[in-house]
């Protein structure tokens, strides 16, 4: 791994000036969330809060692990200024070689162990992140571990969990998440509680893979190993046989009740709105809390982009979507998920466009869970990673009458998409649209396709080379 644990990562951020240590006392009740939000919105460093109101100074909070491309580059052990296109490429390369984790006897997360009646969630300085949230979210930047008892599949997902009372959490792994799938297949029919572990304050790539949509039966830990190019060290839980990252700052061990619930949500969510509602969450009865001495709680003051969620998802969703298009034989060159579009807006570059390809792309993206709703398809002359070029292509190449392809569906829309009506949310009905910013295939390149009036589009190779060669002589830097 580039880093063994969160502390090494924070040290690296200190060296590059990508974290501020906040010594002044900060209120866990909204002030911390407001600071985190403003810091994202002003592209500021991550924050390590050293003194939390009502709590002893040993308990600190870290917000914003991967909230900028710089911090994401550092987490991967790359130079902070690595261009986005290179980050995508390097991530793609590393993901080709999964690395199995190793099980170790003990680790930092076992330095302090509170089991049974020693459990008190209020021992931790869990923030109330946004005004209007359903409660204090302890699980925001977390890794939630669950296991399929029949196949041994060990899933890691990042899901929100809030405090209900001293020993109870409620959470919202969505019904289509892998955790919910295991619960409904293996535990609810038998009316058995399902063990889970919520790891907080892991090395950042563990969190990163927990946000990514890998397939069923895939252990995300293998991909944390792939990205870090070294096996992740795991250690067994105190109250179950689940394995958690050994160097986690905090581990909450609990059981999801198969037949009980309590209120959960709403929460200031990743599309940048508090777009959900309070409802019956998964109820988790906490059996043990284990933690490093002087535990650092990771959080994300989630909201409008960019933040850790939209930056991490840009990469993970972008690569996953490109692979999906390749499998469907779409002549894709690149997929870029601009963080500003919070995985709702996707840019797809193709070798050969046209209406059919645009329509196929939006059908593929909305075929199962339709988390995405808008796609801009661009020709090869546009760099999908350059939003100024994409916007220009959209403005002038997308035909307002013929270039917009809408598809509608029921039962699989994204319930958190802000533009959906309350009724659409209830029915999970929604729509997707492809904006075709490519030239129609039946246009004759000699007579119909307008020639792009740009340096590379209008001038001969010789003229371009001459100009580039003499660029400094003209007086440019």
């Amino acid at each position: 791994m580039a880093f063994k644990d969160l502390r090494q990562f924070i040290t690296a951020l200190e060296k590059t000036g990508d974290v501020v240590k906040i010594k002044q006392e900060v209120d866990w009740d909204l002030e911390l969330g407001a600071i985190g939000r403003r810091a994202y919105e002003l592209s500021q460093p991550a924050q390590w809060f050293q003194k939390i109101r009502d709590y002893p100074p040993e308990y600190t909070i870290f917000n914003g692990s991967l909230g900028t491309w710089r911090r994401l580059s550092i987490a991967l052990g790359l130079p902070p200024e690595t261009p986005i296109r290179e980050l995508y490429a390097e991530y793609d390369r590393r993901e080709q070689k999964p690395v199995k984790p190793v099980v170790v006897k003990t680790g930092g997360c076992k330095e302090n162990i509170r089991v049974g009646d020693k459990v008190d969630l209020y021992q931790l300085p869990t923030p109330m992140l946004h005004e209007g949230d359903g409660g204090r979210y302890l699980g925001t930047w977390d890794v939630v571990v669950s296991k399929d008892p029949e196949t041994g599949w060990s899933n890691w997902g990042m899901y929100r969990f809030m405090i209900h009372d001293k020993t109870t959490l409620t959470g919202y792994p969505a019904p289509f998440s892998h955790l919910a799938m295991m619960l409904s297949r293996r535990y609810i029919p038998k009316k058995q509680p399902m063990p889970i572990a919520i790891a907080i304050g892991c090395e950042p790539l563990c969190h990163m893979v927990a946000t990514a949509g890998y397939g069923i039966n895939v252990d995300e830990a293998d991909y944390a190993g792939a990205l870090g190019q070294a096996p992740v060290e795991l250690v067994k839980c105190e109250t179950s046989d689940l394995l958690v990252p050994a160097h986690s700052e905090i581990v909450i061990e609990g059981e999801i009740a198969p037949d009980k619930t309590a209120p959960e949500g709403p929460f200031g969510e990743y599309p940048g709105y508090r777009s959900g509602q309070t409802g019956g969450g998964l109820l988790c009865q906490v059996k043990a809390i284990t933690y490093r001495t002087n535990p650092i709680m990771t959080v994300i003051a989630l909201g409008v982009p960019p933040d850790d969620s939209s930056i991490a998802a840009s990469l993970t969703a972008g690569l996953a979507m490109k692979r999906r298009l390749v499998r469907h034989n779409i002549p894709v060159t690149d997929v870029y998920v601009p963080p500003e579009g919070v995985t709702h807006l996707i840019v797809v570059g193709v070798k050969k466009g046209g209406a059919d390809v645009a329509r196929q792309i939006i059908e593929i993206f909305t075929a199962r869970r339709a988390m995405t709703s808008k796609v801009i398809v661009v020709d090869e002359d546009v760099d999908p990673f350059n939003m100024a070029e994409v916007l220009h292509a959209f403005a002038v190449k997308c035909h307002p009458g013929k270039g917009i392809h809408v598809t509608t569906f029921e039962g699989r829309a994204n319930a958190l998409t802000p533009c959906y009506s309350p009724e659409e949310r209830r029915k999970l009905s929604g729509a997707g649209v492809a904006f075709d910013a490519t030239w129609p295939l039946d246009w004759d390149p000699n007579t119909d396709v307008p020639v792009k009036s740009s340096f590379t589009g209008t001038f001969s190779k010789e003229t371009q080379e001459k100009v580039i060669k003499n660029w400094k002589k003209y007086g440019f830097k």
Binding site: D29, D54, Y55, Y122, P125, M128, G132, D133, G134, G135, R136, I163, H164, D165, K166, T168, P175, A180, L183, I188, I256, A257, P258, D259, K260, T261, A262, P263, P266, R274, G276, Q277, T278, G279, G280, G281, L282, L283
Partner: protein, 94 residues
């Protein structure tokens, strides 16, 4: 000093007043245990003047928007345990 609580409801108007109901409330007493939830048997009223002995109950809508004024609540007793409903149930009174 009156205690203060908050609860989430779909429609402020539909919360039954003047009779005993079961409701999940969160304790707003400042300190490390603020927002602790419990299920209670209680009577509520939209007019605190009509329930002088009651505590204050702030309402938030299902989407988290705070009511302009607090209601009153008289807690009759705590209900141990949780709601015996499957996960993902819609919990709100309609």
């Amino acid at each position: 000093m009156k205690k203060e609580y908050v609860t989430f409801v779909r429609d402020f108007k539909s919360l039954p007043q003047g009779k005993e109901i079961e409701i999940t409330i969160r304790d707003l007493t400042p300190g490390p245990r603020k927002y602790d939830a419990k299920i209670v048997k209680a009577v509520v009223s939209e007019d605190p003047a009509r329930m002088p002995e009651g505590d204050l109950l702030w309402l938030r809508s299902a989407t988290g928007v705070l009511s302009a004024k607090p209601w009153a609540i008289q807690v009759k007793g705590e209900v141990k345990g949780f709601l015996n409903l499957p996960p993902y149930s819609s919990l709100l009174r309609t």
